[in-house]
């Protein structure tokens, strides 16, 4: 077993003392942060970022296609580059695109051809498509490979009761529902009792005590940033809160569900539009709230696979292959749709039915880890992966 510095600190009892003595050692430090957002359920990339310039798009999606930007009436796609357009429900992120800080990678995702939600999420989060034998997640392996002397328990966090697969592994990561509830409280708990619990769960209480010192209660988002009133919106708000608390956050994870639109997904309006609005408004709020801190932050979004190109019999779409990814932040060369467009003609489709994949999600993630996070070597994060050439997103 490799003894990490953290293990050493823990066993020597020094760790907690160091954190607690100087909870704000991170204040003012320029440190890169990556925020990963997972759209669980397989988001329809063809409705998120509409290929209105591909003439086949409208013929295979009669009811659910998003009208092209120049069509008349109704809510239409928002033109990005004359070929692609944003779903109108994503209008809140268009200004970020226009400012050059939102890049889109289309026809991207995991190269494995499974159409199982579970397997595909597992592959994307383990960072090892096609290999089920890897127990830890890609973000955890990034932390493992880049141990730092001044790491705090809040170096990697997820908002939610359960640790997401991306963060599972031997490196410490905090997962919690709500910042405000993170501690033993009320109901007759005494400090004596808390100390006894702290003996049982050392890691957890290191985090509890550090957070208590930082005291990030009473949070008011900056610049009127308006987060959606949903678990996803509140997760992003709390990530912003932790970023601003300067307690050593480097990797954050949140997820958002509702993308499995087998039935009645709608067009410019409807079920999918509502989810996209939540998704986009959350991103826009986070971007606004973090403001000039975004110069050191990159947000990346992903989903396990896209949806079939043709709509099904119930006004929805069945499981497909490639989807799209958003990459957003100060260092990002945005205002552009990246990736090679594989086309929607019948002979261009993957297995005759799905959007073909032209960018492996690991190419995107590896580039962010190397150029943004300063990772020296991503071969441990994405084992057996040979980068297919950088997209130059940064």
């Amino acid at each position: 077993m490799v003894v990490t510095r953290r293990d050493f600190l823990k066993s020597s009892g020094l760790a907690l003392a160091a954190f607690v003595a100087a909870p704000n050692v991170w204040a003012g430090k320029e440190h890169p942060i990556i925020i990963a957002i997972f759209q669980r359920g397989a988001a329809d990339g063809l409705s998120m970022v509409v290929p209105f310039g591909d003439k086949h798009y409208y013929s295979v999606r009669q009811q659910i296609a998003i009208p092209e930007p120049l069509s008349s009436g109704g809510e239409r796609a928002i033109d990005l580059d004359g070929f692609f357009g944003l779903h109108p429900a994503l209008d809140s992120v268009k200004p970020i695109y226009d400012q050059g800080h939102l890049a889109i990678v289309h026809a991207a995702g995991s190269p494995d051809n499974t159409r199982s939600h579970f397997d595909a999420q597992d592959y994307m989060e383990s960072g090892t498509p096609g290999n089920k034998g890897v127990a830890d997640g890609w973000l955890n392996r990034y932390i493992q490979a880049h141990l730092e002397s001044d790491s705090t328990p809040f170096r990697a966090i997820a908002i939610g009761a359960n640790t997401p697969r991306s963060l599972m592994g031997t490196a410490p990561a905090v997962a919690m529902n709500r910042i405000a509830d993170f501690g033993v409280h009320g109901g007759g708990a005494t400090p004596e009792m808390e100390n006894a619990f702290a003996e049982m769960y050392r890691d957890t209480f290191d985090a509890v005590k550090l957070l208590r010192r930082a005291n990030p209660q009473q949070y008011e988002p900056a610049h009127g940033a308006n987060y959606p009133n949903s678990p996803y919106g509140q997760a992003l708000l709390q990530i912003a809160q932790l970023v601003k608390a300067d307690i050593g956050l480097e990797v954050a994870f949140a997820d958002v569900g509702g993308w499995d639109t087998h039935a009645n997904q709608g067009s410019s309006r409807g079920q999918l539009a509502n989810h996209l609005k939540e998704f986009g408004d959350g991103l826009a709020a986070l971007y606004r709230d973090l403001d000039d801190r975004m110069r050191n932050i990159v947000i990346v979004t992903m989903t396990e696979f896209g949806r079939a190109v043709r709509q099904n019999g119930s006004g929805g779409t069945d499981h497909g292959h490639a989807s799209c990814m958003f990459v957003c932040g100060g260092p990002v060369k945005g205002g552009k749709v990246y990736g090679r467009w594989p086309g929607l003609a019948p002979e261009q489709l993957f297995e005759g039915r799905d959007l073909a994949l032209t960018t492996d999600c690991r190419d995107v993630l590896a580039e962010l880890l190397v150029k943004h996070m300063g990772a020296k070597d991503v071969s441990k994060v994405f084992p057996q992966f040979r980068p297919g050439g950088t997209l130059k997103l940064l």
Binding site: G187, A196, N312, S314, E351
Partner: protein, 440 residues
């Protein structure tokens, strides 16, 4: 001997009550196991009395739709414009109508489901039946919050799951396939030969319910199975909510599923698919693996999985016999197996109440505490159900919530739940919160 009994009660039940170990010791482990394998023979008056006050459990779906109507439905009845039903005065008027007519909001159905699940797990003598109900509901998961499933999930648990939890696997499979809750949750009620198929149920049927993701089916099989199930529908998800086969939208053409030719026609097409899947060796292996994972270890010993799968094949998928094989196996009774499983939040909460000889009405607050620990009952959105692995449940946030629950319970501060405190509150809270008590 005591350890063996504790282990048994932790696995085929939700943990021992204070006098349980002695009781089992007197009766003998073998006899206790035989009793638990035949829950219909166990007298269960205490739990039944506690359930009598939960009205929805015995209602049929049309009655649930009447008695727990959606606010929107009443709003339409009053000709309130769409969108206006959330305005304060309109809402007050609608809620007054609920009150005057003895109606309840649909949310109440969730509370009653949660409540019966907790009450039975804490109080029922039929402990194995409750464990199996928890297991099979999670295996054939549906998501209560998905629209019509708010009215369909009650009948799903009471009529499709509960009567079959120790019976034949194929009966359970058939009951879930024909249940409106599943047909709605996985969209099969929309699949139509006229408008086009919907693959959702067909795929999950093979991936999650029977063969497993590596069970050897192809995308073509998914499409063929979906064709076989066209017409398996619901007589108005929010009107009657009962199963209905619609011949008009059924695809009567021939299908090839896993190499089998299917052209029985009508509802028989889907039934034949279920027969094929229920008999498939891949299903025997997949179901056995999941059972062994639940009852023995996160890493199911392959030799035991094979023996249980053999029993599945020889007994036409008899769950009772599979369970007998598991519980009497050397693997189950080995030292490594004891305390090897991490309790889910539900198991943790229920076993805590039981070990303190407590009683509960399964209140909303208790269900909310279980949700905060990471397991919102009946509200697992993906069709996979909750994962059955330790690393999923023990995040730092979940640990903190478990400790808060331990403190609140030992201070008797959870409404509707009372436990017996015959030691200092501190030592009880520390015992419930300890890493050892998180294991079963």
């Amino acid at each position: 001997m005591q350890d063996a009994i504790t282990h048994l009660l932790n696995r085929i039940g939700f943990g021992p009550r204070p006098d349980d170990i002695e009781r089992v010791q007197e009766a003998g482990i073998q006899k206790y196991l035989d009793q638990q394998l035949h829950p219909e023979r166990i007298h269960d008056a205490v739990a039944e009395a506690r359930l009598a006050s939960i009205p929805s459990l015995t209602m049929r779906t049309p009655q649930l739709l009447e008695s727990y109507p959606a606010v929107q439905k009443l709003a339409r009845q009053f000709r309130i414009r769409q969108g206006d039903e959330n305005k304060r005065d309109v809402r007050r008027q609608v809620l007054a109508y609920y009150e005057e007519n003895g109606l309840n909001l649909p949310q109440r159905l969730l509370q009653e489901l949660e409540s019966q699940k907790i009450v039975r797990a804490v109080h029922s003598e039929r402990q194995l039946q409750e464990v199996m109900t928890d297991f099979w509901f999670n295996h054939f998961n549906v998501f209560w919050s998905k629209n019509a499933d708010r009215w369909l999930t009650t009948a799903y648990e009471m009529n499709a799951i509960r009567p079959n939890v120790l019976g034949k696997f194929k009966d359970l499979l058939m009951a879930t396939a024909k249940s409106p809750a599943m047909l709605f949750y996985l969209d099969n009620f929309l699949s139509s030969s006229l408008k086009g198929i919907n693959e959702n149920y067909a795929r999950e049927l093979m991936e999650l319910h029977t063969l497993g993701v590596d069970g050897g089916y192809t995308q073509k099989d998914v499409q063929e199975v979906a064709r076989a199930f066209t017409g398996w529908s619901i007589d108005g998800p929010q009107r009657n909510g009962e199963f209905m086969f619609r011949p008009r939208i059924h695809d009567d053409g021939e299908k090839i599923v896993l190499g089998h030719r299917i052209n029985a026609g009508g509802i028989k097409d889907g039934e034949m698919v279920l027969e094929i899947l229920a008999r498939h060796p891949g299903t025997a292996h997949f179901i056995s693996t999941k059972l062994v994972r639940r009852f023995v270890s996160d890493n199911p010993p392959e030799a035991l999985v094979k023996r249980v799968a053999d029993v599945f094949r020889k007994t036409d998928g008899d769950i009772r016999e599979m369970m007998r094989t598991i519980v009497t196996s050397p693997e189950f009774n080995s030292a490594e197996a004891q305390g090897a499983k991490t309790k889910t939040p539900f198991e943790f909460a229920v076993s805590s109440i039981r070990v303190l000889d407590g009683s509960t009405d399964g209140s909303r607050q208790l269900a909310q505490a279980i949700a905060r620990m990471g397991q919102p009952l009946y509200q697992c959105q993906p069709p996979t159900g909750f994962p059955d692995r330790a690393d999923h449940w023990m995040s730092n946030g979940a640990v903190v919530e478990r400790l808060n629950f331990a403190v609140a319970l030992s201070a008797n501060r959870i409404p509707g739940t009372t436990v017996r405190i015959d030691d200092s509150m501190k030592s009880i809270a520390l015992k419930l919160g300890s890493p050892e008590f998180q294991k079963r």
